[in-house]
């Protein structure tokens, strides 16, 4: 890691270090350090006010019962106890976990596949990549509205299955297919972004490795498993963690496409937080649910941190 302060290159220019630190150099170093703090301070202040402060407040609130009209009353672990016995919460929790798992796996696999397809030396691949990337830029509200129509029981997606003798599929109104449908739409939306990330990772793998493996008689599959995958591990890890974090937060898709239904089949934690807090005005309970969501994200962020620290050591 390049030492950003050091001696300012003075030694290289023939300045010798005088015995004892001269006043002006101390001042110089301290000035730089202060600048560093100054650069980082606005962000830190911002996070203190808009992230850490609120989270601490949320944890506090989760131990109270608060309807926003009168002052909060302390209720200890009552909110958590109630949640543990509440089928709607448990359903939302399960849905969220299923959704995270499904989306993450599907996104990772699909985007890797897409990246490999683009990387296959096919002419014009670059333009295909840019075109596919557009789906990632489309406003998510537009995505939800369009797919709600496409997933109509007799809509376009069902029509595409007509050759297979399928007449009607209640994509969004059958609890067996509602969540998979939303996972599929999520994948459609996010895969192109991670495709680009994977692509960058693939491009970074030196050709020599592949050539050597080919000479050694490795088949394409071997090359993939023994060369590509191991070298792509950090990227894969990044994609998994980030798509998990994105999935955990999802709100608009189930909200617009199914309203959380049918029944509770697609209700996710973020929706439950909004409803509990702003429909039923149970702020304490909403805060408790927030803490649970936070815990889920904590798990994935710890994963991200580990990756980061490792990355730090590798890249210096």
């Amino acid at each position: 890691m390049t030492d950003s302060v050091g001696d300012g290159g003075l030694a290289a220019r023939g300045y010798s270090r005088p015995a004892g630190r001269p006043f002006w150099r101390l001042h110089f170093q301290r000035r730089i350090t202060l600048w560093g703090i100054a650069f980082v301070a606005p962000a830190l202040l911002f996070f203190a006010v808009f992230k850490f402060g609120p989270m601490i407040w949320a944890i506090e609130l989760s131990f109270t019962s608060y309807d926003m009209v009168s002052a909060p009353t302390f209720v200890g672990l009552e909110n958590y106890r109630k949640l543990a016995g509440d089928p709607v919460f448990l359903a939302s929790l399960t849905n969220t976990l299923v959704y995270i798992a499904g989306s993450t796996v599907l996104i990772t696999v699909v985007s890797l596949g897409l990246a490999m397809a683009i990387n296959s030396q096919v002419p014009g691949a670059r333009y295909c990549m840019m075109a596919m990337f557009l789906t990632n830029l489309m406003p998510i509200i537009a995505v939800c509205l369009v797919w709600r129509f496409l997933l109509h029981p007799f809509g376009l997606i069902t029509q595409l299955l007509a050759p297979f003798g399928v007449d009607r599929v209640d994509w969004l109104t059958d609890s067996r297919t509602a969540m998979p449908a939303i996972i599929a739409v999520t994948t459609w939306r996010f895969a192109p972004y991670f495709m680009v990330v994977f692509l960058a990772g693939l491009l970074a793998i030196p050709r020599d490795y592949y050539e050597a493996a080919e000479i050694d008689g490795a088949t394409a599959r071997h090359r993939f498993v023994h060369v590509t995958l191991p070298l792509l591990m950090p990227t894969i890890f990044f994609v998994v963690v980030i798509s998990a974090l994105l999935s955990a937060r999802i709100f608009l898709m189930p909200y617009i496409m199914t309203g959380g239904g049918p029944g509770n089949a697609t209700r996710v934690l973020s929706m439950l937080i909004y409803e509990t807090g702003f429909s039923y005005l149970k702020m304490g309970e909403a805060a408790a649910i927030s803490v649970v969501l936070f815990a889920i994200m904590l798990v994935f962020t710890m994963g991200q941190m580990r990756l980061f620290m490792r990355g730090e050591r590798v890249h210096g």
């Binding site: 390049t2 030492d3 950003s4 302060v5 050091g6 300012g8 290159g9 600048w35 560093g36 703090i37 650069f39 980082v40 606005p42 962000a43 830190l44 996070f47 850490f52 402060g53 989270m55 949320a58 683009i118 030396q121 096919v122 002419p123 014009g124 295909c128 075109a131 596919m132 789906t135 830029l137 489309m138 406003p139 537009a142 509205l145 369009v146 129509f149 007799f154 809509g155 680009v196 990330v197 692509l199 960058a200 020599d208 050694d216 008689g217 088949t219 974090l245 709100f251 617009i256 973020s270 937080i273 702003f278 702020m283 927030s290 936070f294 994200m297 904590l298 962020t301 991200q304 941190m305």
Partner: protein, 290 residues
């Protein structure tokens, strides 16, 4: 790799006859094109539907090229609710968020990349931790905070909590890390001020990252729904997603007109991407792509 020269000749794999081999890339292209079109189908559907007559939606068959074009869907849709206001609000907020991110994430990224100060590891960790504190998790208290500031129903209120994102900081930090520190040190020796260094040396070198940051910050703010829903209760400050959902569901707005608004909403983000295309590609590290 050193064993290559001494290895026995590799087993001959069955290879395609020469003419077919030449075709392979083209077959690949066709397949790739099919995949791309499949991906783009919904966008195409949205665009073509936005020009159809309201009736068409009820038949649920898709005419990819409308037999009759209805461009009046667009002005009709815009007139159903104060959409021009909504779009204006979204633009204002998204520009504020984009600029805020670009400025503050660069500052913080630079500070974390090229400066050492007591507790800098902790700061990095803390910023990393904010990844698990999205608005969905902190909705209620953030709302209360914004309310305390008196920022309900205002641009500051909508844009405020979005001004700085951890992703942006990491992106800039990663990019600035790769700038050799010698430039910076040399400039310092020459007596340049820190801000001058930032402006003249750092910023020009991380343009690709800045482009990526700008596009995604704009896009994320443009997409925001839950937060404006919570914070805005008057038409003057509604952003277009709120308008699209509220007035789209309203009495008799044909879905075709909803699609018109959706198309209009998609254009600005695409435009921004097109404008910053060159740098975004580099920012993703894709300059090596054919």
């Amino acid at each position: 790799m050193s064993a290559v020269a001494l290895a026995p000749p590799a087993r001959r794999r069955r290879r395609l006859p020469a003419p077919l081999r030449r075709l392979k890339p083209w077959v690949g292209l066709v397949l790739l094109l099919a995949l791309t079109v499949a991906f783009l189908l919904p966008i195409l559907w949205m665009t073509t539907t936005s020009f159809q007559a309201g009736e068409k939606m009820f038949q649920l068959t898709t005419d990819w090229i409308p037999s009759v074009w209805h461009p009046e869907n667009y002005p009709n849709a815009l007139g159903r609710a104060p959409f021009p206001t909504f779009f204006f609000n979204s633009t204002v907020v998204s520009v504020i968020v984009m600029v805020g991110n670009v400025v503050f994430c660069t500052l913080a990224g630079y500070g974390l990349a090229k400066f050492r100060f007591p507790g800098d590891r902790w700061v990095l960790l803390a910023i990393l931790c904010t990844l698990m504190l999205p608005l969905e998790v902190t909705l209620v208290p953030t709302f209360l905070v914004v309310y305390q500031f008196g920022w309900l129903n205002s641009y500051q209120g909508i844009a405020g909590p979005l001004i700085i994102e951890a992703f942006g900081i990491f992106l800039m930090r990663q990019s600035i890390l790769s700038i050799p520190s010698d430039y910076i040190e040399a400039a310092r020796i020459d007596g340049a001020g820190e801000l001058r260094i930032l402006w003249k040396i750092i910023v020009p070198q991380c343009r690709p990252a800045l482009a990526v940051l700008a596009v995604f910050a704009f896009r994320d703010s443009w997409d925001q729904f839950l937060w404006p829903l919570t914070v805005v209760s008057v038409n003057e400050y509604r952003t277009f997603p709120l308008g699209l959902v509220a007035f789209g569901e309203d009495y008799g707005t044909p879905p075709t007109e909803q699609m018109s608004i959706a198309v209009l909403a998609t254009i600005p983000v695409f435009l921004l991407f097109a404008v910053l295309q060159r740098w975004v590609n580099r920012g993703f590290g894709l300059s090596g792509l054919k």
